[in-house]
Amino acid sequence: MNSSSLHLNLLRPSERLSSSPVRMRVMLPVGAILSCIGLLVWWGVLLTQLVMTKAQSAGIEEELSAKSKEHSEVIRQRDLARELKLQLEQLEFYRAGVRSVAEPLARLAEVVPLRVQLKQLSFTPPPRQVLQPPGMKAPLFGPTENVETQKLVMAGLTTKETPVVSLMESLEGGFERLVTHERKINSFRQDNAEAEGRKLLSFEVEYTMPERRFAK
């Protein structure tokens, strides 16, 4: 049972007033308006941030486009510097690879025995360097092989075997820049030439020269 069936209320619901100090009919619109204002402020902040970010982005893009030219120039300069550095390095390699034989050859005359006549002193040609490999536009700055080996061929006449042996012994010390200990006697035979009534002997000795290195 409910006493509502006995309740004949002449007061309309719209006329009922709230006893609460906080009035819903005031607070609801105020809350709604404040919420709307809050949303508008939030959206305004977001919009401002968006505009600022867009402006910042445009500035960065403009700066990037301006600096891209400088950047390519820097890249080009850096590549050029690297290339020049490589060239310098190769030159350093060449400088390190310079074989100075003038002084040993000058001293060679001093150690040649009297009974030996050098008729030929030659270097075998160095291996051919391929500085422009097929398919490459620009030539290489340096040789493809860093180590180059040459032979020193020494040919002459002598009266007997002993002076040649003496010469070879002399070359074993103090001529490291000219020859190594590796040698090969290519020929040693009777020659047609005569001196002092005796038949002369011709000989040919091949010395391996020190390696020529294109390196620091």
Binding site: S4, N9, R16
Partner: protein, 427 residues
């Protein structure tokens, strides 16, 4: 405030949602979820109040002719029991109940003493223009069409500005009590429609509310002049406790006063009650807690007439009437019997009506509002109708708080009934 965020365009094809946020007063907050153009769901939020029952309410009887001040009670529902925490006579609002539209601009503000500052207040108004009756729909409609039957010509506002007063726009040059079409004789008469049960409507300067009764075709309805309703509704200001949640006619509140009585509850809401007021006697019948009879006993005065008859017949002073009725020193029957017998004759008719129409048979009835002499009434009723009259404690069914005077409890029936009805209490 109504905010409509979307409107359904083609409800047959699409199930569109629209939200309507509504708060049409301080105590209602609802969201209307419109599924289609024809289907919608109303969601009422708890903060909105709506029609939920009040657990703390003050009932006030206003402008009782036999009381200097207003009788007020405050009832609180705690632990599934109703507690009477205060009952007293409080000071009248500053000003009298307006009898004319012209008086309504003088709107006083009323503040109740602290013990009665509940969140809600149910106001029961004693008004000479008030109506509370059991009637047929046609009779109610006729009453609604008739307007106020009082000297409205003199009561009509002098100014014919047609402006708003208390939110009601009045017809120009039309007295408030007169029908609306009276202002325009050429206009066709508009026949009012019976309001839905419990819905308050204004018609021809009067505020009406009705409820259908179990007997088909019958309604219980109450009415007050519009200006009195508006004046009373604004007595208790907003933002301070209490505020008016219910305005009832005093007789309507009286009818609800038995709702918490243990006898009423034990009979499962089937009861017959006799309400004795100062100027009238009323019969009320209930079936399963629903009102099935409300009748003002014709050709009979109330307790004032009874006491006057005793004074005149027995020659005792008016201050001794209660002693004569309660004590056996002087036999009051010579004066009492001529007064009670016609009432019992009418009661017999009501008993026959309840038995024939509602299959209700009673061996006892509740006698409410009688200060003294209930035993004599019961004797006469048993002799004439074999009906025992029980005069229960008006505060029965309530846990009476400390400090609440219950000596003159029967005087608080209207205030108590207003609070009970306003609380829409359950049993």
């Amino acid at each position: 405030m109504w905010l409509n965020f979307a409107k359904p365009a083609s409800a047959d094809i699409l199930c569109l949602l629209s939200f309507v946020l509504g708060t049409n007063c301080a105590t209602q907050f609802q969201v209307k979820l419109q599924l289609t153009s024809s289907k919608s769901i109303d969601i009422k939020f708890p903060c909105g109040g709506g029609r939920k029952s009040a657990a703390d309410i003050t009932g006030i009887e206003m402008f009782a002719p036999d009381c200097e001040g207003c009788r007020a009670v405050r009832i609180v529902n705690k632990k599934k029991a109703w507690h009477l925490v205060a009952a007293d006579v409080v000071k009248d609002p500053d000003g009298e109940l307006p009898a004319r539209w012209e008086d309504t601009p003088r709107q006083p503000s009323w503040e109740l003493p602290r013990p009665f500052q509940a969140p809600h207040a149910a106001l029961a108004v004693n008004s000479p223009f008030g109506t509370f009756s059991q009637s047929t729909a046609d009779a109610i409609l006729q009453d609604m069409s008739a307007g106020l039957d009082f000297a409205s010509a003199s009561a009509s506002p002098k100014s014919d500005s047609g402006g708003k007063r208390f939110g009601v726009r009045k017809a120009q040059a039309s007295p408030p009590g007169a029908p609306k079409h009276a202002a325009k004789p050429d206009a066709p008469a508009r026949r009012p429609s019976l309001p839905a049960g419990g819905e308050s409507v204004s018609e021809n300067g009067r505020r009406f509310v009705s409820r259908p009764m179990p007997e088909p075709g019958f309604h219980l309805y109450a009415s007050l002049p519009e200006f009195q309703t508006l004046w009373v509704s604004r007595l208790l200001p907003e933002g301070r406790r209490p505020t008016a949640s219910s305005i009832q006619v005093a007789e309507s509140a009286l009818m609800a006063s038995v709702f918490l009585q243990p006898e009423f509850r034990s009979a499962d809401g089937d009861a017959l009650a006799i309400f004795v007021r100062r100027d009238a006697v009323f019969f009320a019948g209930y079936r399963k807690g629903e009102p099935v009879l409300w009748l003002r006993c014709p050709s009979s005065g109330g307790s004032a007439a009874m006491k006057s008859a005793i004074v005149k017949t027995l020659g005792v002073g008016s201050d001794l009437v209660d002693s004569v009725l309660n004590e056996s020193l002087i036999d009051p029957r010579p004066a009492l019997e001529p007064f009670v017998r016609p009432i019992l004759a009418q009661l017999e008719l009501s008993l026959a009506y309840l038995a024939s129409k509602h299959s209700l048979k009673f061996d006892h009835a509740l006698l409410m509002g009688l200060d003294a002499g209930a035993a004599h009434w019961s004797t006469y009723a048993e002799e004439a109708l074999r009906l025992r009259l029980v005069a229960p404690d008006p505060f029965g069914g309530l846990v009476v708080g400390k400090g609440v005077e219950s000596d003159r409890a029967s005087e608080y029936l209207v205030a108590l009934g207003a609070a009970i009805a306003g609380a829409e209490a359950s049993q």
